[in-house]
Structure formats: C-alpha cells, structure tokens
C-alpha cells in the first residue's frame, strides 16, 4: 500500500550535522517507509545527530519501530546518533518495553 495513504506529516530542519524531524500522525506499516526514507536521506546529506520529536505521534507500531532502528543503524554506521524527544506516555512505554530506550537517547 502506498505511503501516501497513511496519515503522517514530517517537518524537517537540517543544518550541517544536525537535523530534526517533527512527526505528526501515526507511524505504522503505511507510513513508516516515509520516515525511514527521510532519516536515511538526512544521513546521506551529512546529518549525524537527528532528533525526532514524537510528541504529536498518536500511534507507533512495530513497523514504525523498524524505521527508528534502521535510522539508528544508518547514523551509527557514520558515527552519529538518533535522539527521540517528547514521547507520549504510550510511546515511552513502547520504547521501554522493547529496550529501544537503551539503543537511542530518549529526551522527555
């Protein structure tokens, strides 16, 4: 199913090695590809630290987690890191349960 059908909005800011991505909507099997592509492209453009603001994320499933882990791997391979900021209680729980809060930095 094409990514465009999923309700997601990404607001990207990028300057040199630092980038931020504000995500709004649901990160699931229909939308995770767009997020993964964005993270990969930012890394290719030279971003080494990418902060993803997930305060407006209503829902994230295992497909969405894949996008985050792939983003982490791409950055890690280039000496960079991924930061998740402002998770909701449910997103924070998911990151904790899956151990992803130990993989990348999580900022309240």
């Amino acid at each position: 199913m094409p990514d465009e059908l999923g309700p997601i909005e990404l607001t990207v800011a990028h300057s040199d090695a630092v980038a931020s991505v504000k995500v709004r909507g649901e990160v699931d099997i229909h939308t995770c590809g767009e997020l993964e592509r964005t993270l990969t492209e930012l890394a290719e453009l030279g971003a080494r630290t990418i902060t993803i603001d997930v305060s407006q994320v209503a829902f994230i499933d295992s497909s969405g987690l894949r996008a985050l882990v792939v983003g982490h791997k791409v950055l890690q391979d280039q000496g960079g890191s991924l930061v998740i900021s402002n998770p909701s209680a449910s997103t924070a729980r998911l990151l904790e349960v899956t151990g992803l809060d130990g993989l990348f930095e999580v900022e309240a």
């Binding site: 499933d61 987690l65 894949r66 882990v69 982490h72 998911l94 349960v97 899956t98 151990g99 993989l103």
Partner: protein, 327 residues
Amino acid sequence: MANGPRVVVFTPTPVLTVSIERDTTGAEEVHLHAGGQGVWVARMLRSLGCEPIVCGPFGGEPGAVARSILDRDGVVLAAVEVARPNAANVEEGASEQRRSIVHTEPGPLDRHELDDLYGVALSAAADAAAVVLTGSVWPHVLPAETFGRLASDLGALGVPVVADLSGDQLRDALDHGVAVLKISDEELERDGLIVRRGEAEARQALHDLRERGARDVVISRAHEPVLAAVGGRAYRLDGPSLEVVEARGSGDSMTAAIAAGIALGLDAEVMLRLAVAAGAVNVTRHGLGGADGDVVRRLAETSVRIEVIEDGPSEPRSSRSRPSAGP
C-alpha cells in the same frame, strides 16, 4: 558468561519442562528445565563462545519459572511479559523411556504482545552479529507472516538471519530472504519440498531452496551425511558416530553452530564442520544444547569429513538475502 559476539535467538515459544526421573538408587528426583528450540540453540551458542540473547514471551507461572531458571543460568533475556502462560510439559523417565504426563500449549499473542515482541527483537538485533529465527510448533501463537517481516526488517538492518523453520513460517521467511536456512530432510518431506528422503532429492532441494530465497542452505539427514550449499560450493559432510543418549536437539545444535560461525567470522568449511560436530556431540549427553564447546571444536577438526560435491552451483536468486559469512 561468554563475552563473544552477540547473537539474538528469536524464541516465540519457550517451554517449561518438569522431569520426574529416578537416580541410581531408584529414588525419584524432580528437575525443572527451561527449554524450547530457541533456548536449546542459545545454550549451544554460549558453549561456542557467543553471547546469546533469548528474545521471547514469558507469561503465567510456567513463564515465571522458566524465566527465573534462565536468569539463574546466566542466559541474557530480551523478554516480553504476556498474559497467557507459556507451554509446560510434565514428563516421566529419561531418554527413550521418557513419556509425557501433562502437556499444556501456549496461548496466542495478542496484537500488543506481538508488537512488543517484534520491537524487542529489532532492538536486540540492532547491534547483533547474527539472529537465529526459531519457529513455533503451535501455529496459533503468532502469524507465520511475522517470520517474513522479521527476515525483511533484520535484512534491512544488515544483520545475517539464520532460519531454523518449517511449514508456513519457513515459506514466509524465504519469501523475504535469509542468510542461511537449516532444515532436516524430514521437514523437507513433511512440507512437500521433496517427495522422498534421499541424497539426490536433498541435493535438488539445496538448489530449490536457494531459488526460493535462502542464500545458503544446510540439510541435516539423521544418520546420513549432511548436505550444504554455502557460497559457490555444495558440500557433503560426515560426522562421527557417537552413542546416543538424547536424540532431541541435534538439529538445534547445528543451527547454533552455523550462527556462531557467522558471528565469529569463520570460513564456510570451518563453520560447516563445527555445525556437524555440534549436532553429533549433542546426542551424547542429557541437557539439550549443553555440549562442551571445546569438545565440539576438537571433533570438528578431527572427526568431520567434508567433501566438495559441487563447485559453483547456481547462485541464489535473492539479492535481498544477506551475505554468507561475517557479521
């Protein structure tokens, strides 16, 4: 605790086993074991110098007990707490006299539990040298498509996947590509992938399974030589004939040794020797997957005969599958 490369073992159905046995004086003894295919694979991985992480759901009293046994044994867990109890088996007797008295099945994982388990697997695998996908003999526990998604997502992370699967779980994983498939000729026959067991059929299956998405394939054949296609070659391997104490778990030990070979960056032939030796040694002792790593390595060097039976077999079709060696 081993400090070697990390290998994640996806273990969808851990099992608690209560064994009632008699000691040499005839007195009854009760033993508790945490088991299931993934746990057995993990134990052999540890014997071979890797750091296995068992990724699985644990629930109810069987889950709590299995988890505490694994903790006590120093097995690293990436555990997800689930509502329904794990499978449990109460058995009496040892080896060929063993009989199951009570057997309970695990319940299905609900959507959130499955999502959590999936996320735990991805998280643990992100820094792993290899991942082993073990299956569930109870198809209702999780959808077969989970294995395909995992194969695909782990491939996207660049982590080699060793699959020890059969049935729909195998079919789905192959559709997305795996680095190595370990399967027995008995499973091939049961899944309709060969019409009868025999060397010619198994050799054809090496080609067919590569066509379907396995980069490399290892076929165990009970007491017959193992057949394998790794890289550009096909092999026949003969292991030592050892006294059988416990026939179960031999294939799981082979799978563990294959994953260890990848994680440790071993040459293909060394990896195959190790796999055959691990499978052979496993049958000589009680306690599945617990063979001594030094014994396995020594047998691999001295008592496994390897023969190249085909040089330059057809390359696998899948460009999505992972490299054949190295993390």
